[in-house]
C-alpha cells in the first residue's frame, strides 16, 4: 500500500437512491482516487450494489437517483445524456458483476463479446480487437486464450467466465473498474485466484478499483481505503490501516468483532455478533439508523447525526474519536 497519487477520479456527494418510494441509499458520500482500491463494505441490502449501479447509470427503470454531486474525472454524470454516458461506460469506466454464470450473453462467443466493446469505443477491425482480447485473456491468466475466443460462455467454468468478464472490462483501458462482489458466486479456491488477479491488475494498470464486498478479509488484503455502509448510508470511511487500527463507528466495531482473527481469538471463545436486524427505513426517518442495535445509543441519536472527520478518517456518529480507545475490539 504505497502512497498513491491523490487525484479524485470519482466523487459522490449525498447520493440518494429510491425504488418506488423505498429509500435504498440515503445520502452516501464517496471519493475514489486514481490508482487506489476503494472497498465498499456492509451487510446485504445496505445499498452497496445500488450505489455502484447508480454510479454507472445502470439502475433498473424504477430506480431514482439524486445527488448533490456525481462526477467522474470532473465531469458531471448527473447532467450527461444516456448516449454520452454510454460512450463513457465500457471505455473509461467499466464494471464486473456478482454473477459470472449469467453475465455473459449465451448466444455469442467470448471473442465476439470482447471485440464488440473495443470496436464500439475504439473502432478498428475485428482482427485487431480479437488480438487485443487474446492479450487481455492471457493477462487475466486464462489458459489457451486464442481457443477461448471461439468458445461460448456455457463451455466455460464460473471462474473462467469471471476472468473473461474482467478481461472484457479492461478492453478499453478503463480508469475506473467497479467490481460488485466479483467472487461471491465462486468456489473458495477460485475466489482467492480472482482476488489475486484483481489486485495485480489494479497495481499493474494503475486502476481505480471500487470493490464491493461483505468480506472483511478481502478488504484487509486489498483496500487502500474503506467505506462502511449501513442501511443506505456511509457510516465510516478511512484509509484501510486506519480503519482496522482505529474503528470508530459502533457498527464498524461490531463488524470487525464478527471476524475471527487467527492467534487472537481463542477456539472456545464465541465470535461477536450484532444483535437485531437492519431496520426498514421509511420516509421522514431521521437520526442514526443503527441506534436500535447500538450499545452506545442515547437520546440525541434520533436527531440528525453530523459527519465527523479527523484527518482522512470520517464517521457519522455522536461519539468522539477514540471513545473506546484504539483497537480494543478483540475482546
Amino acid at each position: 500500500m504505497s502512497a498513491a497519487p491523490r487525484a479524485a477520479l470519482l466523487e459522490v456527494r449525498n447520493l440518494r437512491i429510491s425504488f418506488g418510494g423505498l429509500a435504498a441509499v440515503r445520502g452516501a458520500d464517496l471519493t475514489v482516487y486514481r490508482g487506489e482500491t476503494h472497498c465498499l463494505v456492509g451487510e446485504s441490502g445496505c445499498g452497496k450494489s445500488v450505489t455502484a449501479l447508480a454510479v454507472m447509470g445502470l439502475l433498473a427503470r424504477n430506480g431514482r437517483r439524486k445527488a448533490d454531486r456525481l462526477a467522474f474525472d470532473g465531469q458531471d454524470l448527473l447532467r450527461l445524456s444516456e448516449s454520452r454516458l454510454s460512450k463513457l461506460r465500457g471505455d473509461r469506466m467499466a464494471m464486473i458483476f456478482q454473477e459470472p454464470m449469467t453475465s455473459l450473453n449465451p448466444a455469442y462467443t467470448v471473442g465476439s463479446q470482447m471485440a464488440e466493446v473495443y470496436r464500439r469505443h475504439r473502432g478498428g477491425t475485428r482482427a485487431e480487437a480479437l488480438d487485443r482480447a487474446e492479450d487481455l485473456l492471457a493477462k487475466c491468466r486464462v489458459t489457451s486464450p486464442r481457443l477461448r475466443l471461439g468458445q461460448y460462455p456455457h463451455q466455460l467454468s464460473g471462474g473462467l467466465r469471471q476472468r473473461v468478464m474482467i478481461a472484457m472490462a479492461l478492453m478499453c483501458d478503463p480508469e475506473l473498474l467497479v467490481a460488485d462482489e466479483p467472487t461471491t458466486a465462486l468456489d473458495v479456491t477460485v475466489q482467492a485466484q480472482i482476488l489475486r488477479l484483481l489486485m495485480d491488475l489494479q497495481r499493474d494498470l494503475g486502476l481505480a478499483l471500487m470493490l464491493i464486498t461483505h468480506d472483511l478479509g478481502v478488504v484487509a488484503r486489498m483496500a487502500h481505503r474503506v467505506s462502511v455502509m449501513y442501511a443506505g448510508e456511509v457510516v465510516e470511511s478511512a484509509p484501510a490501516a486506519e480503519l482496522f487500527g482505529n474503528p470508530t463507528h459502533p457498527y464498524t466495531r461490531g463488524l470487525l468483532a464478527c471476524v475471527p482473527v487467527p492467534g487472537k481469538v481463542r477456539r472456545d471463545q464465541p465470535l461477536g455478533s450484532i444483535p437485531g436486524v437492519v431496520p426498514r427505513i421509511g420516509h421522514g426517518f431521521a437520526g442514526c439508523a443503527f441506534r436500535d442495535r447500538c450499545g452506545q445509543a442515547r437520546a440525541e441519536c434520533a436527531r440528525t447525526v453530523p459527519w465527523r472527520t479527523s484527518g482522512e478518517h470520517g464517521y457519522r456518529c455522536i461519539l468522539p474519536p477514540g471513545w473506546a480507545g484504539p483497537a480494543s475490539l478483540a475482546a
Partner: protein, 305 residues
C-alpha cells in the same frame, strides 16, 4: 451440429412413418369404401366389382404396404371425385396454398415482431396495453368476417385490390392479411414475453455496462435470445396457416390444398384425403425440423447437448 441434425432427422422420419400409418387407418375406419364409392343405389355386383377394381378385397396389411410403397414413390393413385391423378391435383394446388401461407406469415412477422418488441420495451405503459388490445381483437375476429369486411372496403369501395381468384400477386394480399391475423397474436405475445425476459437479464446489464448502443442491446443481445420460442411457434403457425386456410381459400375462391382437403373429405375421396393428410403432416414435420435447426443456429447450447 451434425449429430444434432442426424438425430432430429431420424426422429422426423419416424414421425412421418407413424402419420403414414394413421392416414391410412383413419380412412378405413370411415366405413366400407367400396360401398361409398359405388353410391347408395349400386347393386351388390357393382360394389363387388369396385372392391376388386380398387384392390379393396385384399388383406388390409397388403393394401397398406402397397399404398405406402406407391406413396413413397410419389404415386397416390387416382381421385374418385376429380377423375385425375391425386399427385397432379396436389401439384396444381400446392403453389397457391404455399404462396398464401408465406404471404400470411410474412405479414404476420412484419407486424408482430416490431409490436412485440415495442410492447416489451414499454412494458406496462399505454403503448403496451394498446398492443395487447390489438392482439386480443385479432384473436377474437373470425377470419371469414374479416375477409368479407376487407373485400367490401379494399375491394369494392376503394377498388385497390381484386377480391377473388389467383391471377396476380395482388390477389394474395387480402387473403394474406386475413390469414396473418390468426398468427399475429401468438407471435406478438411470445415476442413480448421473450423480450421482457431478455431485457431484465444479467447479460443485458453487462451489455449496458459496456456502453453499447440501444439498437445493439435490443436487437443483437436481447432479440436473439428472445427469438427461440418465437421461431418454434412460427413453424407451428405456418403449418397451421397452410393447413387451416380452408375458410380463407373458400371466401377468396383460391383453389388451394385447404379447399381440396375440404372437398375430398366431403366426397369421401379417400385416395385424395390420405394424400392430403400425409402432405400436411410432412409439411409440419419439415417445418418443425427447420425450427429446430434454426434454434440450434441461434443458441449454441442446443448444438452441444
Amino acid at each position: 451440429m451434425l449429430l444434432f441434425l442426424a438425430r432430429r432427422t431420424a426422429l422426423a422420419v419416424l414421425v412421418a412413418l407413424t402419420v403414414l400409418t394413421f392416414a391410412f387407418v383413419l380412412t378405413r375406419l370411415a366405413g366400407d369404401l367400396a360401398i361409398v364409392i359405388a353410391g347408395p343405389e349400386a347393386r351388390a355386383e357393382d360394389v363387388e366389382a369396385i372392391r376388386r377394381a380398387y384392390g379393396l378385397d385384399r388383406p388390409v396389411v397388403i393394401q397398406f404396404l402397397d399404398w405406402a410403397w406407391r406413396a413413397a414413390m410419389g404415386d397416390f393413385g387416382q381421385s374418385f371425385f376429380y377423375r385425375e391423378r391425386v399427385s397432379t391435383l396436389i401439384w396444381e394446388r400446392l403453389p397457391i396454398t404455399l404462396t398464401l401461407g408465406l404471404v400470411g406469415l410474412a405479414i404476420a412477422l412484419v407486424v408482430a415482431l416490431p409490436l412485440g418488441i415495442l410492447a416489451a420495451l414499454r412494458e406496462n405503459t399505454w403503448i403496451d396495453r394498446a398492443v395487447g388490445l390489438v392482439a386480443m381483437v385479432g384473436q377474437a375476429m373470425p377470419s371469414f368476417w374479416l375477409g368479407l369486411i376487407l373485400m367490401l372496403v379494399l375491394g369494392l369501395q376503394l377498388g385497390w385490390l381484386p377480391i377473388s381468384g389467383t391471377g396476380s400477386w395482388q390477389h394474395y394480399v387480402m387473403p394474406g392479411i386475413v390469414l396473418s391475423f390468426s398468427a399475429i397474436p401468438a407471435l406478438m405475445r411470445l415476442t413480448r414475453a421473450g423480450m421482457i425476459d431478455a431485457m431484465s437479464s444479467d447479460y443485458i446489464r453487462t451489455a449496458r455496462a459496456k456502453g453499447l448502443s440501444r439498437g445493439s442491446i435490443v436487437l443483437k443481445h436481447a432479440l436473439r435470445n428472445a427469438a427461440m420460442p418465437v421461431v418454434s411457434i412460427t413453424a407451428v403457425q405456418l403449418g397451421f396457416m397452410l393447413g387451416g386456410s380452408i375458410v380463407i381459400e373458400t371466401v377468396f375462391a383460391l383453389h388451394g390444398i385447404g379447399f381440396l382437403a375440404w372437398e375430398s373429405i366431403s366426397k369421401n375421396d379417400f385416395p385424395t384425403v390420405q394424400a392430403v393428410v400425409l402432405l400436411f403432416a410432412i409439411i409440419y414435420i419439415v417445418l418443425t425440423l427447420l425450427a429446430d435447426v434454426l434454434n440450434a443456429v441461434l443458441d449454441p447450447r442446443l448444438r452441444a447437448s
